[in-house]
């Protein structure tokens, strides 16, 4: 089975703190994604990566950065957390070929106080 693992299910941080969200996949997928999920807004793409050290901005990249040093690992970084970044963060991965099915982790719920 494909497994996408997010390092933290729940985090509580203070405004201005630097936050790291880690994601690891075990299926040798080329593509990895970070989405943010808020009620009534569905999933919004923050960043994605289609190869090691490659990244592209999604629809809402402001306030976020990413790192992909190894194929299996994709990190989301909040340089200076703000209260409006309180949300559920979902990591996903996929193969480039095929139907483009996304395999998701269980999510990381971040609260910024």
């Amino acid at each position: 089975d494909v497994k996408v693992t997010q390092s933290s299910r729940y985090l509580v941080k203070r405004t201005g703190e630097k936050v790291f969200l880690e994601c690891v996949q075990d299926m040798d997928h080329e593509n990895m994604f970070w989405y943010r999920q808020d009620p009534g807004l569905g999933l919004r793409l923050i960043y994605f990566s289609y190869d090691v050290k490659m990244k592209e901005k999604g629809d809402i990249p402001e306030g976020y950065s990413v790192s992909r040093e190894k194929k299996e690992r994709f990190s989301l970084i909040l340089e200076s957390a703000s209260t409006n970044q309180t949300s559920m963060y979902l990591c996903a991965s996929s193969w480039t070929q095929g139907i483009g099915e996304l395999f998701f982790g269980e999510g990381s719920r971040l609260t910024v106080l």
Binding site: V4, L41, L43, L45, E56, L102
Partner: protein, 111 residues
């Protein structure tokens, strides 16, 4: 910009009832996927529809892709509590591997 609108936003029904949820776009899309997200989990793919007018069935779930490929529907027959969850449609945008998700329909099925 949200390209996919889903309706209704919330739906609460009793076990055994039928329901339909909708996914609409103002532009044509090449393919559409439906995902279900159960509480505390990430979304899981249910189906991919590719051809205009296509109908796919997955047990009690029937998925339809509109003839003009601008809309899709999901019909559930005789809903069960296990169908409870958030239903999301998603379309490919730009780079082939990117998906844009709809706003979601939250379904609750009670006994």
């Amino acid at each position: 910009t949200q390209l996919l609108e889903q309706s209704p936003q919330f739906l609460s029904i009793q076990e055994g009832e039928n329901l339909t949820v909708y996914c609409n776009s103002s532009s044509v899309f090449s393919s559409l996927q439906w995902y279900r997200q159960e509480p505390g989990e990430g979304p899981v793919l249910l189906v991919t529809v590719v051809t205009g007018g296509e109908v796919k069935k997955l047990k009690r779930l029937t998925f339809q892709f509109g003839d003009a490929r601008k809309d899709s529907s999901l019909h559930i027959t005789a809903a069960q509590p296990g169908d409870t969850g958030l239903y999301l449609c998603a379309r490919r945008t730009g780079t082939a591997s990117k998906l844009t998700f709809g706003t979601g329909t939250r379904l609750q099925v009670t006994l």
